[in-house]
Subunit: 204 residues, 2 copies
DNA sequence: CTTTGTTTGTGAATGTGAGCACAAATACCA
DNA sequence: TGGTATTTGTGCTCACATTCACAAACAAAG
């Protein structure tokens, strides 16, 4: 295929593909066709083929995609072939749920630090990991932490973002219901749970 | 404007607009221009104007949009002008965080029931609300609960979905990392937190 | 009442992504 | 070796979404 910019939507789907391929491996499946995979994921099969073909041809015609090799390739594309460390800011209700979640490790994602500004929480542990004071944000760079999960109250989100960017953070998963304006351009993914629930009644 | 189908993307943004207008009301602002609002939300101003214009003209040229009236109108469009009750299935780490979250009420969303199948949890309380056994799913219809938040392990998600649909649920916010196949067509919104975090390294 | 400045509402243009349809490639069998 | 059944990879078309650009509407001031 001649060169074309890779759609953001394709990137957005890759982790889903990766999870499916990982699961197939545990089922000892060697190959899977785009049709079968589409069936599982609720997509159209040309969608999957096109998505994967952006990164070269790694299926076999008449057979399908090799599970092991394709998983490895997707991990490589997403830069998830080595462990990526993340910091959680805000050890509140949502934050602690995330830290305890074992599902990140299958993507090679590791919440390696937790920061909060509540003196009563600092020093306490969530599982194996100790909550640190927010001022330790400046140590993130040398600890090789480049991703952040932002789970602080909305009022604190903008200021925290500025500090994160100063600390060399390159990507932020923002769970607070507000628009962040980073000083330098940084990839930000917003997840607004309440808004999402608020959409549902419209479709009833 | 002549009739045109309302884009899903427009609907997706309405809760954001609603939140912004609600906030403006607390700031005692009477009107706001699309430019100012766009600035706050990180959008383009024509985007906002077009979105709102799908539902008729309710701004004033030269002035902007009336905060109070527009908020009311958006609530009406999203069917959030009356309280919408939701059930949470799965009182685990993520589920309890959601139940405790006060931010739903500003959308008139109310988590009115919590179900789990763990005998140790049934009967316990999360804040003011008692955890019920999963078999009580059949009582949801007569309790006027039409929305569900699904926060059970992935293995249980499909079976639970089938039961929810049987129980008359019309919309599901799915937090488990798998694709659901409802027996009848029902609006499902998937939020896959781990996948979202998994996207970030690509953009570094 | 007219002029000036502002902001909406919207047709048109542009951009982006999804889905179709089919040639090319491979496996398998007779 | 030739024929049949699959399934990939991809150009093309269509659908959807965003952005532009400007006329129409309104406020305020002189
Ligand atoms: N809990 C949910 O289900 C839910 C749902 C939707 C959105 N959210 C959003 O997620 C965010 C967190 O929600 P939560 O329910 O966990 O809130 P929470 O109040 O339980 O936790 C917030 C945590 O952030 C800490 N904090 C406050 N200011 C800080 C700062 N400047 N620096 C570092 N830490 C700080 C607090 O000490 C607290 O531990 C909020 O923005 C909320 O709107 C939460
Ligand atoms: N915790 C997170 O941060 C996080 C992040 C991403 C995705 N998720 C997803 O959200 C879902 C819930 O995650 P969690 O961390 O809260 O898990 P959890 O194990 O803490 O909680 C799951 C709860 O569901 C209950 N349950 C199990 N089977 C059930 C059934 N058939 N009917 C009713 N209840 C049942 C369990 O008793 C438990 O209380 C999972 O699918 C998980 O993959 C969670």
């Amino acid at each position: 295929m001649k060169y074309r910019k890779i759609p953001d939507e394709t990137i957005r789907r890759l982790p889903m593909y990766l999870r499916a391929f990982s699961l197939l491996r545990t089922e000892a499946t060697e190959t899977i066709s785009s049709r079968q995979l589409a069936q599982r994921l609720g997509l159209n099969s040309p969608q999957i083929r096109k998505d994967l073909s952006y990164f070269g041809a790694f299926g076999t015609r008449g057979v399908g995609y090799p599970v092991e090799a394709t998983a490895r390739r997707i991990r490589q594309i997403l830069k998830l072939n080595k462990v990526q460390k993340a910091v959680l800011i805000g050890a509140g209700r949502l934050g602690t749920a995330l830290v305890a979640y074992p599902g990140f490790s299958s993507f090679n994602l590791d919440i390696a630090a937790v920061l909060d500004n509540d003196p009563k929480k600092i020093g306490k542990k969530i599982g194996p990991i100790k909550i640190e004071n927010t001022d330790r944000i400046s140590t993130l760079k040398k600890r090789d932490i480049r991703l952040a999960i932002l789970a602080v109250p909305a009022e604190a989100a903008q200021k925290t973002t500025e500090n994160l960017v100063k600390a060399g953070i390159r990507g932020i998963l923002n769970l607070s219901p507000c628009h962040l304006k980073p000083a330098r351009p940084v990839k930000i993914i917003d997840i607004d749970l309440a808004s999402q629930l608020g959409i549902l009644p419209y479709y009833m």
